[in-house]
Structures are given as C-alpha cells and as structure tokens.
C-alpha cells in the first residue's frame, strides 16, 4: 500500500521506540539499578533475533511437511511457500509466534546467565571489556556460521502475521507496541518492590550487602538474566517486524551504544526516565533518517554524517549538563506502602 512519508515516519518511530524501549530498560536494570556496565547487551538482542531466524522457518517446514529443501540454502523459496500457507492459517501462525517467543525468553535467560559469569568476578572497566568481547563473539558466530541465521546473507523469516493482509504493516507495529508496553509495566512491578531496592543496595555497596546477609552473587545473576530476557525479546520482535534476521545488522553501534545513549539521556536508575530518553533519541534518529537530505542545503557537511554527529553531540551535552539524565533516580516506590 502507498503510504505518505509522514505516516511512515510516525509508524517507524513507534516500532523502533517499542523495540528499543525493551533494550534500554533491560540495560537500565543491569547498569542503572545494579551497577553492572553491560557494554555487550547486543549479544542478547542478537540472541533473540537468531532464535527467530533459526527456529520459525524450520519449525514451519516441519509442520507443513516441506521436505527435500534446506532452509538456509533454499531460503527464499521455502519462506514463500510457508508464507502462502500461513496467510490462510492464522491459528497455526499465532501458535508459532507464541512458541517462538517462549523459546526466545529461554535463550534470553541462558545468555543472561552466561554473561553473569564475568559480572560476578569482575567489575568496572574489566567487566565492560569482557562483556564487549563476549558480545563480539556472538556476532562473529552468527555471521560466520550460516546454519544459525544464514551467516553473512541472513535469512528471511516466515511471517506469522501474513494473515493480516493489507493491514500487516500497521497490525504488526501496534502488536509490537502492545507487547512492549505490557512488558514495561511488568518490569515496573518488579522494580517497584523490595527486589528493586535490593538491586540498588548491591550496586551501592556489595560488601555491606553481603555483611547483612544478602547473596550478592545471586542478585547480580538475576539482574543480568532479567535484562537479557528483555533485550532478547526486543531482538526477536525486530526480526518478526522485518521478516528477516541478518546477523550483520546486530552491531555494537546500533544495539549497545544507542541503547546506552537512551539510558543515559533518560536517567540511569529511573525506568520512566529511560522511557522518555528512548522516545526522544529514537525520534531524533528517525528525524535524521527521514529528513537528512532535505537539510543538505543547510549543512556544512555530508548529511550522512548527521546521525553519528547526533550521537556524539547528545552524549557530550548529557555528560556536561545532566550526567544523571533527564529524570533523577528516586527511592524505590514500593507498591502498597505509602511513603511519607
């Protein structure tokens, strides 16, 4: 269907806001609340996406009895066949979607557990470096080992929403937004509780926390797992939205550094702040993506550099003027207890 540029812009902003919200909030849980500098969160995002790329097509092939073809090598043909079937079978399609998301959550937990290993033993810069390295390993494996998600070329993913027909574009975006908001609200339930308070205590002083009987190792593992689950869901939703998983697309630049910017702009340790930060940063990025060539006349440099300049400029401004972010961290608002 023909879409006006403005509609495209709005819908694009919405879907990327919804997807990035999960990544930045996941990061906020690990870094903002628990003090674990996860510069490797792209690993969890990629993990979710790889799961979708690996599982959906093969599972659908099994259900529909498509044999004699290799999912990776005959990808386009197989996916076209599957989509034709899915377009008329919305019940199976939804079942496949739910099953995949369940698997994505499990993969997110596993990746969170693995990345927790260095988080327990290292801190500060050394932890950050180790997590970057682990994330890079995930990316290299995905790009190099094609059975996972097509390696350098990536794979197309069958569309469990093909039955939406003409409304597919809008339908999927609204669905992703809904999933994102509901997940966000659930995270808020978890954070606005004694558990949220415990995370901040462990962040502020591990030794003291141990000395009053808290199992700090377990707390860190839980924080990494929770953040990783959210990031993996985001990666999976992105793959469903694009109907493709391309391992090369999950770069540190896109999924770690932009997410960090969203968290820092919004306010580390404040999920509402991070929501606002994500919205603002995604908006800025979309504006640049859509309108940078219109601005070419006014820019003393190539409009293609605008996005990179934007990232650097916002980062510098935040560090100078509002290092805590737009919304400061507040005491945990434990539900059900009135604060005085």
């Amino acid at each position: 269907m023909e879409l006006e540029l403005l509609t495209l812009f709005v819908m694009d902003t919405i879907v990327f806001f919804a997807i990035y919200l999960l990544v930045s909030v996941g990061l906020n849980i690990q870094m903002g609340y628990t003090g674990l500098p996860n510069f490797g969160i792209v690993a969890s995002v990629a993990g979710g996406a790889y799961t979708v790329g690996w599982f959906v097509g093969r599972f659908a092939m099994m259900i529909y009895g498509i044999e004699g073809m290799d999912f990776i090598n005959n990808n386009a043909y197989v996916v076209t066949q599957i989509n034709a079937k899915l377009a008329n079978d919305h019940l199976t399609a939804i079942m496949i979607f739910l099953l995949t998301m369940g698997l994505v959550i499990i993969v997110g937990m596993a990746l969170g557990f693995i990345t927790a290993y260095p988080a327990i033993r290292l801190s500060g810069d050394y932890l950050a470096m180790t997590l970057i390295a682990m994330a890079e390993a995930v990316r290299v494996i995905g790009i190099g080992f094609s059975p996972i998600a097509g390696g350098t070329l990536g794979v197309q993913v069958p569309d469990p929403f093909a039955w939406m027909g003409k409304m597919r574009y809008f339908g999927v975006i609204i669905l992703i937004l809904t999933i994102s908001i509901i997940t966000f609200l659930m995270v808020q339930l978890i954070i606005n509780s004694p558990f949220g308070r415990l995370l901040r205590a462990v962040r502020d002083n591990e030794v003291t926390a141990e000395s009053i009987g808290k199992n700090v190792v377990n707390v860190k593992i839980k924080a990494m797992i929770l953040g990783s689950i959210l990031a993996s869901i985001a990666g999976a939703l992105y793959s469903f939205y694009a109907s493709a998983t391309i391992p090369a697309a999950f770069t540190r630049y896109d999924w770690t550094f932009w997410a960090w910017l969203m968290m820092m702009v919004g306010g580390t340790g404040n999920n509402i702040g991070v929501l606002i930060g994500t919205l603002l940063v995604v908006l800025m990025r979309r504006l640049i993506a859509f309108y940078k060539f219109s601005l070419a006349a006014f820019l003393p440099f190539e409009p293609l550099w605008l996005e990179l300049i934007g990232l650097g400029l916002v980062l510098i401004l935040i560090m100078i003027f509002k290092p805590q972010g737009l919304l400061a961290e507040k005491p945990t608002r434990v539900r059900g207890v009135k604060s005085d």
Partner: protein
C-alpha cells in the same frame, strides 16, 4: 554463662606478615566485650575473619555451636552475627529509611519471582517499616529518614551503621570503632545506646575501640591485642593498668 562465640588459635597471614598469630577468645552470652590494641595489632583482621570476609589460615571460629570458619559472609550474617565498619559503609544513594529496610532479612519481595506479586510480601514490608521506624527513633535518626545516606554527617552515619546491624535480627554485633572520630558527648551516647540494646534486647556485643576512657564505663570484659596476639585479658581496670598493654600502646 554460656559461650556464644569461641575463637580458637586463629592464624591469618598476608604473605610473610602474620596479622593474626594464634588468637584465642571466648565471648559470653549477654556480655559487652571490648578489644583494644594499637593500630596494626590485627583487630579489624580478626573481625574480618570472624565475619567471613577473610578465610583464616589456621584455627576455628565457633558461633552458637556452629563452626563458621570459612563460611560465606552472607551465610554468617544470616546466623545472627553482623558487623559494622570502621569507616561507615552505607548504601549511598538509598535513603536512610531504605538503608534500614534493605537490612531486613525475611522479605520474600526481594526474590525476583515473588516481587511481582505484592500479596506475597506486603505484610513483611510493613513489618520491616515498623521495625525501621522504631530503630530510627531509638537512634534519633527519624528526622533524616528520607535523606540520602550520602547526605548524613559522620556521626549520623555511625548511628546508621548500628541501626542497620539492628534491623538484621542480629544476636551478636561486632562493632568496629563505633565511636571513632566522633565528639566525646556523641561517643558516650553511642555507648549508652549499646548498653541499652544489650539490656533491652539481650544482644551481645564485641567492640573494637581505641577510646578506652569512654568505653571503660560500658564494657564487661576486655581483650588487648598487639602484633596479632592477645597480650592481656580481663576486667577493664585490670587490663588498662597492665604494664604490657601500656607498653604496647605507647610503643617500645
């Protein structure tokens, strides 16, 4: 009187340095025990070994009949043995009230799974608050309960340290210089609090302190340490007038 904490020939080495060189002590139920000694005599190392921050090289530590030698710090804390730090280590970006609430150990809301279901932990949270308010009042910190811990004065931070230890249902508190770098009037108040807590809540205290002049009025038994060994023990007056102790403190 029963022995609540027994330390048997504890040895802790850091490379060639024997920070603890065969230290033995007995703490009795209901007592306030004082450990004195010049800097570097091993007092804080002893507390770190007892509470699990360090693993001793030789010797046993027995608390309430349990051998706690080499246990993890959080496991020891759960048994009711809690310590404070020489330099107050509070949770800086948490409020005073939150500092206390975190120390409450029976809150199922602190588990990731149960945190979603308010019903599972609301009662415990409310209990924790009641207890915290009482302790805040006892230590006269209730007017700063919503301030961040990092905004407190030094003396208030010391009181918060003790308050936190109290929240955690500790039966035995190891206080590392509770009156350190604090004005004499406040130091007396702190010790008066400690004595009151021993009387009212039946708690045991092992206190490391330099201010002999202030501590003397409040303690039941004293151990003096120097260079990793116990050089004297007994009632306050005996130990303070022991020539070995005087020599250790004044150098030689």
């Amino acid at each position: 009187m029963s022995v609540i904490l027994e330390i048997n020939k504890l040895v802790k080495k850091f490379g060639g340095l024997r920070a603890l060189d065969g230290v033995s002590m007995k703490l009795y139920d209901g007592q306030i025990t004082l450990i004195i000694g010049p800097n570097g005599s091993g007092k804080t190392t002893l507390i770190n070994c007892i509470t699990g921050l360090y693993k001793p090289d030789e010797g046993r530590i027995i608390y309430n009949g349990n051998d706690i030698t080499g246990m993890q710090p959080h496991e020891i804390a759960k048994l009711g043995l809690v310590r404070t730090f020489q330099i107050p280590m509070s949770f800086q970006k948490l409020t005073v009230l939150e500092n206390l609430l975190v120390a409450y150990n029976k809150n199922p809301g602190e588990s990731l799974l149960w945190s979603i279901f308010k019903g599972k932990w609301l009662k415990n949270e409310k209990e924790a608050r009641e207890k915290a308010y009482k302790i805040l009042k006892l230590l006269q910190l209730d007017n700063v309960k919503n301030r961040l811990a990092q905004e407190l004065s030094g003396g208030q931070m010391k009181l918060l340290e003790i308050g936190r230890a109290l929240m955690s249902d500790a039966k035995t508190l190891l206080l590392d210089e509770p009156a350190g770098s604090v004005a004499p009037t406040l130091a007396h108040e702190i010790f008066a609090h400690i004595k009151r807590l021993r009387d009212e809540l039946k708690l045991n205290f092992l206190i490391v302190e330099h201010r002999l002049d202030i501590a003397a009025d409040y303690v039941d038994y004293v151990y003096a340490m120097s260079s990793g060994k116990v050089i004297s023990e007994g009632y306050p007056n005996e130990v303070f007038n022991d020539p070995k102790v005087i020599e250790a403190y004044l150098g030689g």
